[in-house]
Subunit: 230 residues, 2 copies
DNA sequence: CCAAAAGTGTTATGCTTACACCCATGC
DNA sequence: GCATGGGTGTAAGCATAACACTTTTGG
């Protein structure tokens, strides 16, 4: 097990990065956070936040660090998405990127101030279905992220990660409608969600609305934060 | 876009490997192919086939190459599984591995002769649910592979990749029973499979069996080789 | 004729879908 | 009182699950 017995440096190694597809709901749209690149390659192109993995940090730690460094955002839900390793995805040299899928509660949209950094001249939310031209192969990564989001919404309880702690059933339904680009029947949606027995009424209602106030629900977090169906 | 404008070598880079979880059905069991390591670390431990990614090959090409080099197996179904990057998963140095999920038709079990190589002193199939102690974090990778297999069997038509071109409905059912460790009702299974309209009768039947011969079916490969439900 | 696996239908149950009106609030 | 979104039930159709006997072959 002596490190000297095996010279791994004899291999010409690819570089390794992480990139994060961070979704949130903003203005009734599914949004993605992008940064504007300060440096070549793809200078002044919009790109996913991300960067090189350091030798002494895990992949997930790298994703968290890059998100903080480049956008000032932390404490989001994060899971690995896919690893992209085509030969010419970066014009500089061989770069493999491990992409991450992230969700931010719409509650935090107000609390966290996104801000640019050394690597990014701007940071901005974009409508997922109306993105600018992206650097590298980031369009592929985003598409992969949308697929994952839809799948996870359908088969897991991940949707709650996009909502504040207390939410109305209409807000929850909206997330599904935004992600799937289609309308669901209100009665059937409610029946289905309530039958899953994953959320409970709070004693609160929405305030200061010029119509009948809605019951606020919260997610029953007994087992884990997210109940994985798979 | 000049490669010289950006010195990526200033980053201390992790090493990158691929590892392959190759499943096949053998003796009515779900089997995984393992190699016995010739070198430290984990000398003489069983491990997943795999190795370092070369600078000029894609991740998938690396997986294919390693599978051929280490086991003499080629032309299997291959898809990316997950990227494992914990800090101490390799005692030598920082190594990140992109794992691949592979399926081999039981037809090929007879045709392809597995053989050891420079890196492996032995190559052998093992019952997935009765594996020896594995090198590195390969146990985690195998578990992840089993999850993916079950999921894919449930939601896609990937099961056909484990069968020869023509197969009986009983053989198909067996794959599901082996992977899920449970029995399914014969009539309901057949009804379900046939209603999906994905397979068709051939004119052939099983030969030389001391009981009623079974119809052989084949997969209708119209759209693509695998119909992804997701 | 016996052993062994192939093949085949019906019923009950639960889930999904389609669909329309009254309720509570602010202005 | 009116505009706005919140809240509710029922019936039809469809998919799933449970269940047992007959058929075809080799020996």
């Amino acid at each position: 097990m002596d490190k000297k017995e095996y010279d791994v440096t004899k291999y010409d190694r690819p570089s390794l990065t992480v990139d994060i597809v961070l979704f949130s709901i903003k203005n009734n749209c599914l949004n993605i956070l992008l940064i504007k690149r300060k440096e070549v390659p793809f200078k002044d192109f919009w790109a996913l936040p991300g960067g090189f993995v350091k030798i002494n940090e895990s992949l997930e730690d790298a994703a968290k660090r890059e998100l903080i460094e480049e956008t000032n955002i932390k404490d989001v839900y994060l899971e690995q998405l896919y690893t992209f390793g085509n030969l010419n995805r970066d014009p500089r040299t061989r770069v493999i990127t491990v992409s991450y899928f992230a969700l931010m509660s719409s509650k935090d949209l107000g609390n966290i101030k996104i801000k640019p950094s050394t690597d990014a001249s701007e940071v901005q939310w974009f409508d997922t279905f109306n993105l600018p031209k992206l650097a590298f192969d980031h369009k592929n990564i985003v598409e992969y992220g949308i697929k994952r989001l839809r799948w996870k919404l359908e088969y897991t309880t991940i949707g709650f990660k996009l909502l504040p702690e207390n939410f109305t059933l209409t807000e929850l339904q909206m997330i599904y409608e935004i992600a799937f680009h289609k309308k669901f029947d209100k009665r059937n949606f409610r029946k289905k969600i309530l039958s899953l027995n994953l959320i409970e009424e709070t004693k609160e209602k929405t305030k200061d609305v010029s119509h009948r106030p809605a019951k606020l629900y919260s997610f029953k977090k007994k087992i884990g934060d997210i109940i994985e169906i798979i």
